[in-house]
């Protein structure tokens, strides 16, 4: 958990909220955010898109991974205000017309999770990985997925699921 300091919060008058527009899972969404609101907190607390998880909140675990303008990033280390005008895809936006994304189905097929907390980040990260097109071998998948930690240790099945989805893309 990030530490917060009450004293720190009161050092300057709170600046006003800033209106921004994010296109989230294809829907243009207007919201007002404080300058220090992360994209992760905007998604979870302002828009009730709680599929994106807060793990470490310091860019070390990957649970908060979303796609911004098609690229995978850590939403916990992103200020929402800096992404004004961007297209954001979260785990809620991957399925189409009720049909699971190939990665979602592959994670089920390969039992690629236990507790499931890291899974939205793993799947969004894997979607970014496949779009980047740099990983071919299992070594390369492991290396380029190293920003997503799984405390349950489902890594072998996660790699297998990604390989299955890659074969379909």
């Amino acid at each position: 958990m990030a530490r917060t300091s009450t004293a720190a919060r009161s050092t300057i008058p709170a600046p006003g909220k800033i209106p921004i527009v994010l296109t989230i899972n294809g829907i243009a969404t207007q919201l007002e955010v404080a300058p220090w609101t992360t994209l992760l907190d905007a998604l979870r607390d302002h828009l009730d898109l709680t599929g994106t998880k807060k793990g470490c909140d310091h860019g070390q675990c990957g649970a908060c991974t979303v796609l911004v303008d098609g690229r995978r990033i850590n939403s916990c280390l992103t200020l929402a205000v800096m992404k004004d005008g961007a297209e954001v895809t979260t785990i809620e936006g991957l399925a189409t017309n009720g049909v699971l994304h190939a990665l979602q189905q592959a994670f089920i097929d390969h039992d690629a999770f236990q507790c499931g907390y890291c899974t939205p980040g793993q799947i969004c990260s894997a979607a970014g990985l496949i779009a980047e097109g740099k990983a071919k071998s299992s070594d390369e998948i492991r290396e380029l997925m190293s920003g997503n930690i799984c405390r349950c240790g489902a890594y072998p099945n996660i790699v297998a699921a990604i390989q299955q989805a890659m074969g379909q893309s």
Binding site: T11, G59, E132
Partner: protein, 338 residues
């Protein structure tokens, strides 16, 4: 996290004007280190000036045959850029050895240079740290110092610069281009970061209100005989205990030109002209490499938990030079060290 104001810069001149107008303002681009430091209350700016939309995102060829990398080129774009992979593969390799795919998508070239140390005490506001709070003392010297410096440290600070990319940029003789109230200037990469001495709060020689606009690489790129070898506690996604960037130009078995830089061992990427001189004109073999390693580490000093890094660095230098001389650079996906 402290409350702060937010503003966007419209161009480089506007960015310089805005930062000069508020002594407690900071620039933000990728944010991967700064937002973490904000959350930890280590950085407490009054205002963030967003430079992420400035048009500094291209890699261009220079008239001298080199490359000019815009300050805001993301790390991942740089690592996979065809001009970088073809002409400076050591740099591409070093970038891919650092952080994670997500962080590399966010992090920028200038931010990589300006990231702060990951010394535990710098991050822990409950402990003294001369870098965070000048004059408060160094908790690492008598504390946990496994990650810390073995070269160039001072009694005030034994922190290391955490970058992988910068180790390659040092070895490649890059130039950092900056703009500021007094105009634009270029800084040789070896002069950009500094040793802690008794002012460890200053990581670099960047002057107040200056902004990095580009990093320039010279034409010479070491496209065949190079390696970036990174040794760390995990196979991936961890900071270096020791890393080595090296490039050689060989004529037969003879070394014509040599570059050697260490990461994870000092307050800046560590180069030593005497070690490189000891490689030039010599046969590319174990005894030459050993002599270079001896020279690189002749002033190395370990602390309670990091003395192992001296032997580790010695072996890593010899191994990286061997990899470079054979034209078999370290893979950043298959981590077997050959």
């Amino acid at each position: 996290m402290i409350n702060f104001h937010y503003a966007r810069a419209t161009d480089v001149a506007d960015a310089v004007r805005q930062i000069a107008a508020d002594p407690r303002a900071k620039f933000i681009a990728g944010g991967t280190n700064l937002i973490d430091l904000l959350k930890e209350d280590v950085e407490r700016p009054s205002r963030l000036i967003d430079i992420s939309r400035l048009p500094l995102k291209s890699v261009e060829e220079t008239a001298e045959g080199g490359l000019r990398i815009g300050a805001l080129v993301p790390n991942s774009d740089l690592a996979y850029h065809p001009l970088i992979t073809q002409r400076h593969p050591m740099l591409a390799s070093a970038i891919l050895a650092g952080a994670s795919a997500q962080l590399r998508n966010m992090a920028t070239t200038d931010g990589n240079l300006l990231q702060r140390t990951r010394c535990y005490y710098f991050y822990d506001t409950a402990t003294p740290c001369n870098k965070r709070e000048p004059g408060s003392g160094c908790s690492a010297i008598a504390g946990l110092n496994r990650m810390h410096a073995i070269l160039g440290a001072s009694e005030a600070c034994i922190a290391t610069h955490p970058s992988d990319m910068c180790v390659a940029l040092a070895a490649l003789d890059a130039t950092v281009h900056v703009a500021g109230p007094a105009g634009a200037r270029g800084i040789a990469f070896s002069d950009f970061h500094r040793l802690p001495e008794n002012t460890p709060q200053c990581d670099t020689n960047l002057q107040p209100n200056e902004i990095i606009t580009a990093v320039e690489l010279p034409a010479r790129g070491f496209t065949v005989n190079y390696s970036y070898l990174k040794i760390r506690d995990r196979l991936s996604y961890a900071f270096a205990l020791v890393s080595v960037a090296t490039g050689l130009e060989l004529e037969g078995d003879t070394i014509k030109e040599a570059r050697l830089a260490l990461g994870g061992v000092a307050h800046k990427p560590w180069r030593d002209p005497s070690a490189e001189a000891a490689l030039r004109g010599q046969a590319a073999n174990q005894s030459t490499f050993t002599r270079a390693a001896d020279l690189m580490l002749r002033d190395a000093k370990g602390f309670e938990h990091n003395a192992f890094k001296i032997d580790l660095a010695h072996r890593a230098i010899i191994r990286a030079l061997t990899q470079a001389s054979r034209g078999t650079p370290q893979s950043q996906s298959n981590k077997k060290i050959r």
